[in-house]
Amino acid sequence: MAKIIVITSGKGGVGKTTSSASISTGLALKGNKTVVIDFDVGLRNLDLIMNCERRVVYDFVNVINGEATLNQALIKDKQTDNLFILPASQTRDKEALSKEGVEQVLNELAETFDYIICDSPAGIEHGAQMALYFADEAIIVTNPEVSSVRDSDRILGILQSKSRRAELALDPVKEHLLLTRYSPERVENGEMLAVEDVKEILAIKLLGVIPESKAVLTSSNSGVPVIHDQQTDAGKAYDDAVERLMGRERPHRFLTAQKKGFFKRMFKGSATA
């Protein structure tokens, strides 16, 4: 049984695509046959982050419209076995995604894949609703600030009322909180919300906390999802999150500010939670 997981946020620019790339890569690295679909029709950038933009011939909308087969449109990732990308169209708009079309593509993918990751566009409009409609699970990407938390709350409400599972009164979509761009120093200074605050407000299970990290930008620029770099905090944090997504227990790390001087040396690289 394929699991359909939407990566969504309401608010834009919080790290959905970054997370989609690393999580789908992580799942594939751990032996799951995984496909990641770019639902951000018109603004595609998943293929950039995954370094396959020059190999895009057909896209998601072509498949929906019957202009290409799924096999023609799927791009096999060069760095990671088991990983495929279904890119978005750059030239259409989001209305091109029909519910029936999306369902047909998902059904076909479900026959061969273990995980189907849907990278949602920002907002709560048609594109975002199509991305989440068929989801079994949802990863809510949130930055530790009030407006992002509010938008995440909003998208959770939509998951509860407008997803297929909600409409058919099936088991509800399983919700995970992924807090990204987390900076313990700024939390201590009172410039950002703390993990606990966000957890309290959103009241869903914490999948992971991805620290703010320069490595994310450099890895995006080089087209290598940051999870490949297990030297970085962000890479390790994504790896933990993928483990938890697969049902394993992992302690949370990178939640507290680095200690200075003596303490910094003593606790260097060690987990704190």
Binding site: D153, L156, P172, A203
Partner: protein, 321 residues
């Protein structure tokens, strides 16, 4: 007094239109109904205005009819035999003379023996001697009812089975509670008189109230969502997010944090209350009286709180356990 007679239509009057959630409240609205004696949560507006007066009072109506709910004592009659009745009623009143002083009473005829005759004049006088005022009969055969009418009494519809709502404790604190023994003894000798403090007609209202199904929400109410409990209470077993709105005709209970908007008594029930585990609301309103977050008592922020209406003012009180 006989106002309970007019209470009935109000029940129908309040039929809920569940489709008009948005329109079901109105901050401008501020009806007061002190007439209802605070006994029931009577959300009805004035039933009708009867304008009978003329010139001298410059067109101001001489009166208005209002629906109201008043607790009433019912004297259930099994049969009538003057001497025994007088004895029994004396015995009752001596238990709590203050309570019975000038007490309006309804004669309940549901249990009255078939074909029994009932000289209402005697009954009324016997009651009067104990300073009890008979105002109406409830139920009874057509014959009895027309006799009651002749005697100047009002008529109340028959009470259905199991509708008695005992409110003895609240309505008459002075009335000593009969011990189980005396109750049993009384039952054995089938007394002519069975006083019971209960709410008449109103019963219908009460029954209706019981039937009101509370709405229970198990999940958080999220930003952008709106939940409305028509007719009854709303119970949320989670938090209510900023940007969410919850409404109820009755009370609102939030077992998590209340960060959004909560509007209780949206049909005008001034007795409705809001309870929450942690107060951080954007807005609270009871029966149209509202306060926005910056006007909420600082002292209750983040605390378990109840909100209620004290005359026209919203009050916030920490639930201190």
């Amino acid at each position: 007094m006989s106002s309970s007679l007019t209470a009935e239509p109000s029940a129908e009057h309040e039929q809920t239109n569940t489709d008009t959630m948005q329109d079901s409240f109105d901050f401008e609205r501020n009806e007061q109904h002190p007439e209802n004696g605070g006994q029931m949560n009577e959300p009805s507006q004035e039933q009708e205005q009867v304008n009978m007066s003329v010139a001298p009072h410059s067109g101001r109506p001489c009166m208005q009819l209002k629906g109201a709910l008043v607790p009433m004592t019912v004297l259930e009659l099994n049969y009538f035999e003057l001497e025994q009745f007088t004895r029994d009623i004396k015995a009752k009143t001596s238990q709590a003379p203050d309570f019975f002083d000038n007490l309006p009473i309804v004669i309940g005829l549901e249990k009255f023996e078939e074909n029994g005759s009932l000289p209402f004049k005697q009954l009324i006088e016997a009651c009067q001697e104990q300073s009890i005022r008979v105002v109406a009969v409830r139920g009874g055969s057509e014959l009895l009812q027309s006799a009651a009418k002749q005697a100047g009494l009002g008529l109340l519809p028959k009470q259905k089975e199991r509708q008695t709502v005992e409110t003895a404790e609240t309505a008459s604190p002075e009335l000593p509670e009969p011990s189980e023994n005396t109750q049993a003894a009384q039952q054995q000798e089938t007394p002519t008189v069975q006083t019971q403090v209960e709410t008449v007609e109103i019963i219908k209202k009460v029954i209706q109230k019981e039937k009101q199904i509370s709405k229970v929400v198990h999940q958080p109410v999220r930003s952008g969502q709106q939940v409305y409990a028509p007719d009854g209470d709303l119970i949320v077993l989670a938090s209510v997010s900023a940007g969410a709105e919850i409404l109820a005709d009755g009370n609102i209970h939030v077992y998590g944090s209340l960060r959004g908007r909560a509007l209780a008594g949206v049909k005008g029930d001034t007795q409705a209350r809001i309870f929450c585990h942690s107060m951080a609301a954007e807005l609270v309103s009871i029966a149209g009286q509202y306060k926005i977050s910056e006007d909420i008592d600082r002292s209750v922020l983040g605390k378990p709180t109840q909100v209620y209406l004290d005359k026209d003012a919203l009050r916030f009180k920490e639930i201190d356990l």
